[in-house]
């Protein structure tokens, strides 16, 4: 039955446009327009480093202080930070990669630290991984692209399909069908999930061509989490929004996309980065994930209950 759903879904040319062409096109265009992003140097400084160094450095760099050394190394590896500075056994260790920005940042820090004196402390420079490219705008906006797919195909698609099924009477037809191995809403969830995977595949293909080093673990987690959150959320809202579904979907979709934080710089003071964006940037917060799963299913159950009562 899911095959029939998917066939029906994927043969719709406008749906294909929204699933495959639009996210890739939007991602490509957005990344190209803001291609200069990612050129600012972003060192991460260990929290134990004396405050005076931090105060001096912050005037010259877009700098953040982090307590965990492993986290600093990870951020430098994945490009969130250009280089990392850790105070270790009485000497400064500078972590950097072979990315252009990382190498430049390391050189600048070295000369800066030399000029400053360090109170006699040694500087140890350590290269941790050679990844080639600097954080490009494509890398920067990749989470935004992923989020757009999750919201567009999962949430928007969920609202729209549910409302459309109601409009043409397919919801009634489903209720009378005798052979249903899975509940209709679960089949809708799965068909949207598969469509989301197709859309993500297109996005990952474009991103890879543009040189993005995709973190598949985070992507998989985001896709699963995004599907579990946003498809039931969309279906639940679709059940109550009826003929106003498109308006409701747009009213919720664009603010959610904007407020997700995917379009904000990681060091931006007012970055509202939401759970999925944090996951995509390698920062998982399971309490937030659990909370959102509960909220989403509550909305789905409320929508279903409203629909059943309205009938």
């Amino acid at each position: 039955m899911i095959t029939f759903f998917l066939d029906n879904y994927l043969r719709n040319k406008s749906m294909l446009f929204w699933i495959i062409v639009f996210p890739s096109l939007f991602y490509f265009t957005f990344s190209t327009i803001f291609y200069k992003l990612g050129e600012d140097f972003k060192p991460e400084l260990e929290a134990d480093i004396p405050k005076i160094f931090f105060n001096v450095l912050k005037d010259h760099f877009d700098i953040v202080q982090i307590r965990d050394e492993n986290k600093i190394i990870q951020d430098v590896k994945n490009g969130t930070a250009d280089c990392g500075i850790v105070l270790k056994s009485g000497e400064f260790v500078v972590y950097y990669t072979s990315r252009t920005t990382s190498s430049i940042a390391k050189d600048m820090l070295e000369s800066f630290f030399s000029a400053f004196g360090f109170g006699g402390k040694e500087i140890k420079v350590e290269i941790i991984e050679a990844k080639g490219k600097r954080l490009s705008s494509y890398e920067y906006y990749f989470p935004a692209g992923v989020l757009m797919v999750i919201l567009g195909v999962g949430f928007f698609g969920g609202i729209y399909t549910e409302a459309w099924f109601k409009e043409i009477g397919l919801d009634k037809l489903f209720k009378i069908l005798p052979q249903r191995k899975l509940p209709i809403d679960l089949m809708m969830f799965l068909s949207h999930f598969f469509a989301m995977l197709i859309s993500l595949f297109a996005l990952v293909t474009v991103s890879t061509i543009m040189g993005v080093n995709v973190n598949y673990k985070n992507l998989t987690f985001s896709a699963l989490f995004g599907a579990i959150i946003f498809i039931p959320f969309g279906i639940g809202i679709g059940k109550v929004s009826g003929k106003h579904s498109e308006l409701v979907a747009n009213l919720l979709y664009f603010p959610m996309l904007f407020l997700s934080g995917a379009f904000f710089g990681v060091s931006f003071k007012y970055n509202p980065a939401t759970t999925i964006v944090k996951i995509l940037r390698g920062k998982m917060e399971f309490s937030q994930i659990a909370l959102w799963v509960v909220i989403s299913f509550a909305i789905y159950i409320a929508g279903s209950a409203w629909y059943a009562k309205a009938e």
Binding site: M1, N8, R11, L170, L173, K175, I176, L177, Q179
Partner: protein, 277 residues
């Protein structure tokens, strides 16, 4: 044997009472037509009978079960063609029938059904590219993929051209010949008269009359209208004895005598004050 039993059925939507305490039975193997103007409560009644809408109160049994708690086995004995064109727009007729065959675990031959419905040449055309008549035929086809006992057809010929309508009638008559029970709602008087064993007229949520077509006409108390020209004057007589009146008129030398017996449309107009299509 009664396949549908409805007793004092009510359905209220907030302030609106769509169905107001209706009761009727449908016998096995008959065509039962529910007639009524828009907003009479026909579709609501059908949706309650097939279990997609909850009733406010009253007793309903369809094939011996409460529609709100249909078992899988009972669902397999039912078939419904909805008023809306509920169909997968981007599947072909062949795929759609395959879907229904699988869902109902039917054992019919899809090729035979498509040929019977004159849809074989369109078997690979996406449903959204079919004409209105072809789509309706395809919807009818979805009930042929299994062997239902009770078939609900909610305005199956609405907005079809006469030829397409007659095609659908042929299918309904074939189903009736096979002993299927058919619950039909329609706007078309001619259709009801042609296909029905029993007609039931609803208006504003209530049943205003019910029975075999002749019984319904008789119960209405409507008289035969005899018109004629007598001494260059048009005369119009309403009578229950048209033969006697005609003979009298002929004796008096009347010309252009026309006798019009009341039909279902007159009955409908009489009870609802509205004309059917």
């Amino acid at each position: 044997m009664k396949v549908i039993q409805v007793s004092n059925l009510w359905k209220k939507y907030k302030e609106v009472e769509a169905v107001k305490g209706i009761s009727f039975d449908v016998e096995k193997g008959t065509v039962f037509s529910l007639l009524g103007p828009n907003g009479a409560g026909k579709t609501t009644t059908v949706e309650i009978l097939i279990g997609v809408r909850k009733r406010t109160s009253g007793e309903v049994k369809v094939l011996g079960e409460d529609p709100e708690r249909f078992s899988k086995e009972t669902k397999k004995k039912l078939a419904v063609v909805f008023q809306e064109t509920a169909i997968f727009e981007n599947l072909t007729p062949y795929e759609i029938l395959k879907f229904f065959k699988k869902t109902y675990e039917g054992d019919s031959n899809i090729e035979e059904i498509l040929k019977y419905l004159d849809l074989w040449n369109q078997r690979k055309t996406l449903a959204k590219h079919l004409s209105g008549g072809q789509r309706r035929k395809l919807l009818i086809g979805t009930i042929l993929v299994h062997d239902p006992e009770l078939i609900f057809l909610d305005e199956p010929t609405t907005s079809l051209d006469p030829a397409s309508r007659r095609n659908i009638w042929r299918v309904i008559q074939d189903l009736k010949a096979k002993g299927k029970t058919i619950f039909l709602t329609t706007h078309y008087m001619e259709e009801a008269q042609e296909l029905s064993d029993v007609v039931c007229i609803m208006n504003e949520g209530k049943i205003v009359t019910m029975g075999r077509v002749e019984e319904v006409i008789e119960k209405s108390g409507l008289k035969t209208i005899v018109t004629a020209k007598l001494n260059d004057e048009e005369i119009r007589i309403e009578t229950t004895e048209p033969d006697k009146v005609t003979a009298e008129l002929l004796k008096k030398g009347a010309e252009e005598i026309d006798i019009r017996k009341p039909n279902l449309e007159d009955v409908f107009l009489h009870y609802t004050g509205r004309k059917l299509k």
